[in-house]
Amino acid sequence: MKRPSAFALVANQTRYEWRIFWRTPISAFFTIFFPLLIFVVFSLVFGNERIDYLGITTAQFYAPSLAVFSAVSATYTNISISTAYQRDEGILKRVRGTPLPAWIYFVGKILSSIAIAVIGTLIMIGVGIVFFGLQVYPETIPTLLVVFFVGVAAFAALGLLVAALAPSGPGATAIANATLLPLAFVSGVFIIPSEDMPTWLNAVANFFPLKHFVEPFVAAFSPAATRSSFSWLDLGYLVLWGVVSLILAIRSFRWEPPTGGGGGRSRRASAKSA
């Protein structure tokens, strides 16, 4: 009688989360297809012209920025919503009744969502290269990889935190979307904020991690980019957000449905009052 190894358990959990994701068409649509659609539409609507003040083409900006949006959807949005729904349905409670260590459960979720983020990003970049003349500069690839994996890990942790704090599945959906979309606008994902953006709004953008993910990632696609354009400050800030989110998520994580599990308590209350 031998306990399964941690590696086998992580693989099992990752495959499980991966499978569930692809079998939920709505999540696959919003994570992979929707950002791609925006990319194609923007590139066609704006024309793939050189944007004067950036010195690059439309695709050269939108392919990486929307790749980040896709990666954040795959991690932050996906983890927060799916985990909260699994809690509502009592699935987390069942998992808690098995010998599976909690950390392996979390790692499986994070790895699966990162794998999905990789797929979404590769598709976006691939479509950019094939159809919109996107240029990738080989000397910036190490920077891209570091920024990407630190970014998605941080947003996966943040997704776990939202799942931990959200009251329910619909609540998590509302929180995830109501935070990501406005933030994407002020953080330079859909548009480059104008120089006249109010200072306080700029401060908001600087406080949250999205800008620190998308800016260095987009910068690495600029013709002017070199390996030295690597930003330790942005990277450190993402790590900080990730670590703090993970700690808070683990400390506040709940495994049982909002009613306290099984409805025993609420039923008892009504029986007493009857």
């Binding site: 009688m1 031998k2 306990r3 399964p4 086998a8 358990l9 099992n12 499980y16 499978r19 569930i20 079998r23 939920t24 699994q86 349905e89 009592g90 699935i91 409670k93 069942r94 808690r96 009744g97 098995t98 010998p99 599976l100 260590p101 049982e256 449905p257 599990g261 099984g262 409805g263 025993g264 308590r265 039923r267 008892r268 209350a269 009504s270 029986a271 007493k272 009857a274």
Partner: protein, 298 residues
């Protein structure tokens, strides 16, 4: 050997006492039922034994562990079927069993398990296409996939139609023949009667009776009730004084039903009168249960 030992178990939520000091033991291989109305404290008790809840006071030993420690080795030896939960809708039956099975050191073969719970035809169907009864049987499969020594079944057939319930009972009996120890909660008397070796009736957080389904609440020693109707004019002539007379209805409560019945029927035949609607009854488990729980649910 006792698999579960509970002594003076108490659980308080604020001012209310969900479990108010209960004691019981479950022996190896036994099917033990906690029978009680909704809100009696059944689920709270079971969830303490499963490691989901802390207790306020009392001693609990499950398979040599204190469940509050949530040790991995403890979880490897128990099987939990929760009262309200669901299985991932988009997995197939086989995938769900494989996924959950892989976390245990020993596990039942997926194909065998699918047969045990009677889902052979649905093995490759998505969970969302299963009926309520089939889903519940899948949940039982997930609870026992790790080949546990002790199985917790929290209201396994609530909401079932009669045929689904029969199938579930058959499955649970099969588990019992495999030598598993089972702790079952239910608010159905017939379920406890059919499945359990021993029953504890729990009400308002207290165990109010404990025994085999046949002896519960002193059933085996309780008075037998003999009842019939007779023309009121003849009642005064009866050879034995009735316990109760209500209009034409006559009732005897006796510990010697054979002799009483012999006297009464002999008298009736001799007089050529009929004992209309004659019944001889011992209290059913339901009578005992309702008396013990005082119709608390209503």
């Amino acid at each position: 050997m006792a698999v579960v030992t509970v002594a003076n178990l108490t659980k308080r939520y604020g001012d209310s006492e969900a479990v108010a000091g209960i004691d019981f033991t479950i022996e190896e291989g036994e099917v033990f039922a906690l029978l009680g109305p909704n809100g009696a404290g059944k689920t709270t008790t079971v969830e303490i034994l499963e490691g989901y809840r802390d207790r306020t006071a009392g001693d609990v030993d499950v398979l040599g562990y204190d469940p509050a420690g949530n040790a991995r080795a403890f979880k490897e030896q128990i099987g939990v079927v929760l009262q309200e939960s669901s299985v991932e809708r988009d997995l197939t039956v086989r995938e769900a069993i494989d996924t959950y099975g892989r976390v245990y050191p020993k596990r039942l073969v997926t194909g065998d398990l699918i047969d045990i719970v009677g889902l052979g035809e649905k093995a490759d169907a998505r969970v969302k296409t299963l009926s309520g009864g089939q889903k519940r049987r899948l949940e039982v499969a997930l609870g026992i996939v790790g080949d546990p020594d002790l199985i917790f079944l929290d209201e396994p057939t609530t909401g079932f139609d009669p045929s689904a319930r029969r199938q579930a009972w058959e499955m649970i009996s099969n588990l019992s023949t495999l030598g598993k120890t089972i702790l079952l909660t239910t608010h159905y008397m017939d379920e406890a009667q059919n499945l359990a070796d021993r029953v504890a009736v729990i009400n308002n957080g207290l165990i109010v009776a404990e025994g085999t389904p046949d002896t519960l609440g002193g059933r085996e020693t309780a008075h037998t009730t003999i009842r019939f109707s007779l023309a009121e004019a003849s009642i005064g002539d009866l050879p034995l004084a009735p316990t109760l007379v209500e209009g034409p209805v006559v009732e005897y409560r006796t510990d010697e039903p054979t002799a009483v019945l012999h006297t009464l029927t002999g008298w009736a035949v001799g007089r050529r009168v009929a004992l209309e609607g004659l019944t001889v009854a011992r209290p059913s488990l339901e009578d005992v249960y309702l008396e013990l729980t005082d119709g608390e649910e209503r």
